[in-house]
Each structure stands twice: as structure tokens, then as C-alpha cells.
């Protein structure tokens, strides 16, 4: 085999790997991007029920209710303009508390209740997820340093 042919084979293989990877990345991105939404987005009907999203905001004071099975929890996520009811079955993170910033991953049910598969709260009690800060800023309820 001539060096020229070898180089062509190499280039072909490299392109194949890159092309394959690009195809993988594109299909995977299309199916697995999860958009972040605020309660106001939900109220304005920007959210398609059944599509996976992340919903972020504050856990509304006084809204947390535990069901009798000891595992299912209902609470409200608010950006102080709008509020979305959330239901979650499982173990909440250590820092989940009323009045704290929280991000819930899951999907909106047709009845308007957000079914969370996963609830994320930060490891730092003063920390506010940047998405939640943005959502609060958008709803005009953000006060600097008022966490």
C-alpha cells in the first residue's frame, strides 16, 4: 500500500469517527435537552404537558404537605408572581426547605400539576440556583442580597 493510500484510509477513518460522533451528539441532543422553565412560563402556557423540563423557583411558604404513605410530598413552586403545584414521590434532598430555591425535574401533567421525578436543592443554604435567580428577576421579585 502506498503512503498516499494509507493517509487516505486514515483520513477516512478520522472523518468516520467524527461524523459518527456528530450524528450521535445531534440525535442525543435533540432528545435529551431539558429546558428550564419558571412558574410564569407555565402560567403563560409556554410549557407542553408531557415534555421533560426543569421547573425552578422558591418553595412556597406553608405549601409542603406529606401524604399518608410517608413518601409522597406535595408543595408549590413559586416565582412570587405565579405558582405551580408539584407532586413528588421519594426522598427530598437535605436542603429542601420552605422559602428556599429549588429545581424540580419532571413533566407537567395535563391537569396542571407538575410531576417531579427528581428534586434538586443546593448543598449551600445561601445558594440560589442561577436559573431561579433569573426567574425571580424576570418576574420582578428579585431583591439583591435578600436571599
Amino acid at each position: 500500500m502506498k503512503p498516499k493510500h494509507r493517509r487516505l484510509i486514515l483520513i477516512f477513518l478520522a472523518l468516520l469517527a467524527l461524523g459518527g460522533a456528530a450524528a450521535l451528539v445531534l440525535t442525543a441532543l435533540e432528545d435529551n435537552i431539558v429546558f428550564f422553565r419558571s412558574p410564569t412560563d407555565v402560567a403563560e402556557k409556554k410549557v407542553t404537558p408531557g415534555r421533560a423540563i426543569r421547573l425552578g423557583g422558591l418553595v412556597e411558604e406553608g405549601s409542603v404537605k406529606k401524604a399518608s404513605d410517608g413518601l409522597t410530598v406535595e408543595f408549590h413552586i413559586t416565582d412570587l408572581s405565579n405558582t405551580v403545584p408539584v407532586v413528588f414521590k421519594g426522598i427530598l434532598p437535605d436542603l429542601f426547605r420552605e422559602g428556599q430555591g429549588v429545581v424540580a425535574a419532571g413533566e407537567l401533567r395535563p391537569d396542571g400539576v407538575f410531576a417531579a421525578r427528581e428534586v434538586l436543592a443546593k448543598h449551600d443554604e445561601n445558594y440560589m440556583p442561577p436559573e431561579v435567580v433569573d426567574a425571580l428577576k424576570k418576574s420582578g421579585k428579585w431583591k439583591e442580597g435578600a436571599q
Partner: protein
């Protein structure tokens, strides 16, 4: 007074690093011997100065000097001593100081052990390290000074984030940084070689041990981080494709590619320009990793101590280091091109395939990690890219790599014989299929994807063993001759076998623990039980316990199987009053074959505790495999041809290391 001494030493180190970065470089360009010779003492002095600064900061933490802002913000007088010391790098300022300390360790090591390097190469390597040091020391002195005072000093500190008060995480950053920063040596050698315009076997012999050492440390560092997330975060997983995890994983992927391509430069003087590029990319990704974690641009589950203002400074450092080295590469690399003469099916070809797949995989991880940032910047849309994306892109790219990993060592340099290699691997293939089938039967499962993972793992381990067996002519020569061959096999060959087998063990652990885990979540009252994969978990009691700086609800969970006691798990829910924070401590019973894992959460009004129990088959194999991989790297490092400082008399040594496949060729 001691903090001021530390501050002064740090500022002095910056000046020394500046001298180390400029004069030897100028000296090497003009052939000025005295200027070049300056590099060695400068690197050693810089090291001593940074040790003084680091010791001063450690002293501040040990005696709880709350007039230091860092100590006041991140320490507390009631904290156990071990966490006072490890708290030095549990915050931004201290961890950056650790970063430059390790950089200085490597710089001083090159200066001290690099006596037989050509004078101009040594001067340039040390100068490049001096420049990196200058950048990071300036970053510390100007934006994150650990010696800032608060006046008046508070009565007590705010305490360290309780999640960081853990031995696994305490030793995780030093290992990670030893890996990250260790690649700076390969980078410095690459840039120096580009300036010199010379890359040869001797150069590669110099680069390999440093790269290998950095790789071992990074492997352990990533493993420790993953282990910590597994037992401390209490969600039962060990990898989340979190941006911070990816930040450490990308340099590992490209560093692994570098490790292999440097062998080709050493043995065959081929792939020279490519190896230089990999060295630049590996360290660049380490810098990007530091940037991602330290600047706070990423919304991660665990980006501690982040500050966007500092991001700009690191970004500028990044542009200077990566941009500068890549421009240099663009100018000089064409001169390094080799007329490498090898067939696609050869050891070189196998390494090239390894490189291609590893760098492509690193690229997909890079896209998945940075795409959300990019999209946010251009359109303001907030998205996240989760584990499914990475699993869908990463696993298909790794599968051919793992298949090829077993075959590669059987191929000779220049021209390999694929048919012969496959013949030698017949037994391994048979064993792999048997084991995969057996795993399905044991798990009582029809999950073919999982069987595929076990197949790959078994193939890799059996392939690595076959390769050793072939080299020492196991079962084909008299036993004493086999033993003699085994003894004379170079350590680097054993190292490769061990590392490859370790990878196989990791894959087996990842596959089985993901595919065949059993998870049960329930609300249990004390005395109630739950069946998890044949094990009966009983919540005996939950009692209040007092720790040194926390109170804890500690549960006793008895696990029995067929009526006989297996273990008592003690998961805890800790409350740290200083930070008003709760943490979860998982209760784990580990055997060689599986983990039993219990987490206790809150108590509801009717007295039931929310609990989560897992049975995770083969999970310990992940940690075992990671240790085996690092041991393989370490074994290879003890090969006398890799020993730093051994005179470059490699010609004779090289003849003794005929690759397995070459015996036939």
C-alpha cells in the same frame, strides 16, 4: 506575623516565577548559558517560597486564626483537627494555593532530576512552567489572596461546609490537582520542543514518566470524587455527568490518549506533531476544568466557593496559555511532520484508533458540558444536558475502543497480523461469551445490553491475560523458562496488562451495578422490614447520637438473608448546628461481590422514617478496578527505562522489549 510572612513569601514567589519564566527563555534563544542556568535554582526557590506560604496558611487553620478572612469564613474552632488541616484547600483561595504548590513541586522535580536534559531544553521547560506559575500566582495575589485579614477578627468561624468534612473529599483535591497540574509538565515539554523545533525518542522518554504519573494521580482523584459522591450524597449513584465531574474527566480522556501516543514517539518516532498537540490539549483541558469549577459559570451540584469576577482572570490566563501554545503549534508543527511508515493494521494503527476514539469522546463530553453555557450566552435559553445525552454518545464511542484494546497489544509495530492476533485471542473470546452468558443466568435477567457490557469487560480482562500468557509462552514452554520470561518481562508491559485488566474490572462493575441494582424506597416504622433482592432489610431503631460538631439521627438497619444475619447498616442523618445544615451518611456493607446500601431520611408525623435501600451487584469492582488501573500505571512507572534521571541510553534497553506480536513477524 506568620500570615504576613506567608503573604510575603507568596509575593516573592510571583517575582521568582516571573524571572524563571523570562530569563531562561531569552537565554536559550541567545545561547546565554548563565541565563539558562538560572532556571534550576529559580524553580527550587519558587518551590521553597510556596511551601512557606502554604505552611503559613495551614498554621492559620490549625490555630484557628480568625483574623484571616479565609479561616473565619471556612473554619470553626469546634472542628476536628484533621478537617482543620484539610480545610486549607476546602475553599477557593486555599485550593488555588494548593494548585500552585503542586505546580512548584513538579517544577522543582524537573529542575532537580533533570540534570541530564540538554541545557537549552531544560531551560525552556522550566521557563514554560515558570510562566504558568506566574499566571496562577498573579491570580492568587491579585484576586484571591488567602492572607487577607478581617479587622476586627470574629470570635469564631463560620465552619466548613459539612459535606466537605469527610476523609474521601479531603484527599480528593490533592490527587486531582496532582493529575491536572502534572500534565503541565507534559505541556511544558511540548511547548519547549516546539520552540526548539525538535521532538525525538529521547524527548518522549522524558515526557512519558511525567504523563504517566499525572495520569495515575488523576485516575485516583476522579475515583475518590466518585466514591465520595457515592457514599456521602446518599443518592446511590457514583457518576452524574455533572459539569464538575466532566471537567476532571476530559483531561483524563485526552491524557490517556497522550499516554499511548507518546509510546509511539518513543519507539517509532512517529505521530510526533500529534503527540505535541495532545500534550497541549490535555493541559488546556485541565485549565478549562479549573476555570469551569472555579469561576462559577456552571450550575453544578457541587461547585463550591465560586466567584464570577475571578472567572475573567482565569479566562484571560486560559486564552494566553491555550491560544499561545496553539499558535506556536500552528507555526512549528509542520516542521515536525514525519514520514511514518506503518500499515493501518499495526501497533501504531491501534494507538491511532485509541487516540481517535478517546479524543472524539472527549469532544462529545466537551459539547455536552459547554453547550448549555453557549446556548445561554447566545439566546438566553436555559437548558440542561443530562446523563442520557452522555450515555448515548459516550458508550457507543467506547465500545469499539474496548474491543480494540484487547487486540492492540497483539499487533506488531509497523505491520501487524490481524488474523494471527485473532487466533491468539480465540480463548479470550470464548471465555468472554461464557462469562456474559453466565452473568445473565446468575442475574436471572434477559438484559442483552448489560450482557454486552459484561462481554466487553470479560473480553478486555481475558485479552490482557492472553497477552501476558503469549509473551511468557505459558503452557508452551517448560515452567522454569516461563517463570524466567515472566521475570524478564519489562515492568511497563506488566503495567499495561494490569491497567487494561483494571479497566475491564471497572466496566464490569459499572454494568452490573447499573443494570441489576435493586432500589426500594419506603416509609418504615421501627421494626418494619423490606425485601430487597432477597435480602431482608429491617429498620431496628433510630437513635440520637452526638458527634464532635454535629448531632445525628442514627438508624440501625439489620440485613439478613435466609434467616441469618448479614450486616447491620448504620445510615445517619447529621445536623451541623454551626451551618444549620443537614447531611446524609449512607450505611454501606460491602462484600467483594456487591454493596448493600441504606439511607435514612426524615421522619413523618406518624413516626415512620423515609428510607431508601439498595442492592448493587459488583459495585465495589468500580473502586477495585480504578485502584488496579492506577497500580498498573504505577508499575509501569517503576520500569527502569522510565525512571526519571536514568541516562538516555535507551538504545540497548529498547531491544529487549520486543512486543508480543513481533515475535512472529
Amino acid at each position: 506575623m506568620i500570615p504576613e510572612t506567608g503573604h510575603f513569601a507568596l509575593s516573592l514567589a510571583l517575582m521568582v516565577a516571573l524571572v524563571q519564566g523570562i530569563l531562561p527563555l531569552a537565554g536559550a534563544a541567545r545561547g546565554h548559558g548563565a541565563w539558562m542556568a538560572l532556571a534550576r535554582p529559580a524553580a527550587q526557590i519558587q518551590f521553597v517560597l510556596i511551601v512557606v506560604a502554604f505552611a503559613a496558611l495551614t498554621w492559620g487553620f490549625v490555630v484557628s486564626d480568625f483574623s484571616l478572612a479565609v479561616v473565619a469564613r471556612h473554619s470553626h474552632s469546634a472542628k476536628p483537627m484533621i478537617y482543620k488541616i484539610t480545610g486549607v484547600w476546602g475553599n477557593h483561595e486555599g485550593s488555588m494555593l494548593l494548585w500552585v504548590l503542586i505546580l512548584a513541586v513538579f517544577g522543582a522535580a524537573v529542575a532537580t532530576f533533570g540534570r541530564n536534559l540538554p541545557a537549552s531544553l531544560r531551560a525552556r521547560v522550566l521557563a514554560v512552567q515558570g510562566l504558568i506559575g506566574t499566571g496562577f500566582l498573579a491570580f492568587i495575589v491579585f484576586t484571591s489572596n488567602p492572607f487577607d485579614r478581617v479587622i476586627p477578627a470574629p470570635a469564631d468561624g463560620q465552619g466548613l461546609n459539612p459535606l466537605l468534612q469527610d476523609i474521601g473529599l479531603a484527599i480528593h483535591p490533592p490527587f486531582l490537582y496532582l493529575g491536572y497540574v502534572g500534565f503541565s509538565t507534559a505541556f511544558a515539554f511540548a511547548v519547549a520542543a516546539l520552540i526548539e523545533g525538535r521532538v525525538d525518542a529521547a524527548w518522549a522518554r522524558w515526557v512519558r514518566p511525567w504523563t504517566l504519573a499525572a495520569w495515575c494521580f488523576l485516575t485516583i482523584g476522579i475515583g475518590l470524587g466518585s466514591w465520595w459522591a457515592y457514599y456521602e450524597l446518599g443518592w446511590g449513584g457514583w457518576w452524574y455527568w455533572d459539569p464538575v465531574e466532566n471537567a476532571s474527566f476530559m483531561p483524563w480522556l485526552v491524557g490517556t490518549a497522550l499516554l499511548h501516543s507518546a509510546i509511539v514517539v518513543e519507539k517509532r518516532e512517529a505521530l510526533r506533531a500529534w503527540t505535541i498537540l495532545l500534550a497541549i490539549l490535555t493541559f488546556s483541558l485541565s485549565l478549562v476544568g479549573t476555570f469551569l469549577v472555579r469561576s462559577g459559570v456552571l450550575n453544578s451540584v457541587h461547585s463550591f466557593a465560586s466567584d464570577p469576577d475571578r472567572g475573567l482572570f482565569i479566562l484571560m490566563l486560559l486564552v494566553a496559555a491555550i491560544g499561545g501554545s496553539l499558535i506556536l503549534y500552528a507555526i512549528r508543527a509542520p516542521a515536525l511532520r514525519t514520514t511514518a511508515n506503518f500499515q493501518p493494521v499495526s501497533r501504531e494503527g491501534a494507538v491511532l484508533l485509541n487516540n481517535l476514539l478517546l479524543t472524539t469522546a472527549a469532544a462529545t463530553v466537551f459539547i455536552g458540558t459547554l453547550y448549555p453555557l453557549f446556548l445561554d450566552a447566545i439566546s438566553g435559553a436555559k437548558i440542561s444536558v443530562g446523563p442520557p445525552f452522555f450515555n448515548l454518545t459516550f458508550i457507543p464511542l467506547m465500545t469499539p475502543l474496548v474491543i480494540a484494546m484487547a487486540v492492540g497489544p497483539f499487533l506488531a509495530w509497523k505491520r501487524g497480523d490481524f488474523g494471527w492476533a485473532m487466533k491468539k485471542l480465540r480463548l479470550a473470546a470464548l471465555a468472554a461469551f461464557l462469562i456474559a452468558g453466565l452473568s445473565l443466568w446468575i442475574a436471572g435477567s434477559t438484559n442483552l445490553l448489560a450482557a454486552g457490557g459484561i462481554l466487553l469487560a470479560a473480553w478486555l480482562i481475558a485479552g490482557a491475560l492472553s497477552e501476558v500468557a503469549e509473551r511468557i509462552k505459558l503452557f508452551r514452554a517448560p515452567l522454569d523458562s516461563v517463570m524466567a520470561r515472566a521475570r524478564h518481562l519489562p515492568r511497563s508491559a506488566w503495567g499495561m496488562t494490569v491497567a487494561h485488566a483494571g479497566m475491564g474490572i471497572v466496566i464490569a462493575g459499572m454494568t452490573a451495578s447499573t443494570a441489576w441494582e435493586t432500589e426500594k424506597i419506603a416509609a418504615l416504622k421501627p421494626g418494619a422490614s423490606l425485601d430487597v433482592a432477597g435480602y431482608v432489610f429491617t429498620l431496628d431503631k433510630v437513635e440520637e447520637v452526638k458527634g464532635p460538631n454535629y448531632t445525628s439521627q442514627r438508624a440501625a438497619v439489620t440485613v439478613s438473608r435466609d434467616g441469618s444475619l448479614v450486616a447491620v447498616l448504620r445510615p445517619e442523618k447529621r445536623f451541623y448546628p454551626v451551618q444549620r445544615t443537614e447531611t446524609t451518611e449512607a450505611g454501606i456493607h460491602t462484600t467483594w461481590l456487591s454493596d448493600l446500601y441504606a439511607v435514612v431520611s426524615r421522619q413523618s408525623d406518624d413516626g415512620a422514617w423515609a428510607v431508601r435501600f439498595y442492592h448493587k451487584p459488583l459495585l465495589p469492582w468500580i473502586w477495585i478496578g480504578i485502584i488496579v488501573m492506577a497500580l498498573g500505571g504505577g508499575l509501569s512507572l517503576t520500569d527502569r527505562r522510565h525512571r526519571v534521571g536514568v541516562p538516555a541510553g535507551g538504545k540497548t534497553a529498547r531491544k529487549t522489549t520486543v512486543p508480543a506480536g513481533a515475535q512472529k513477524a
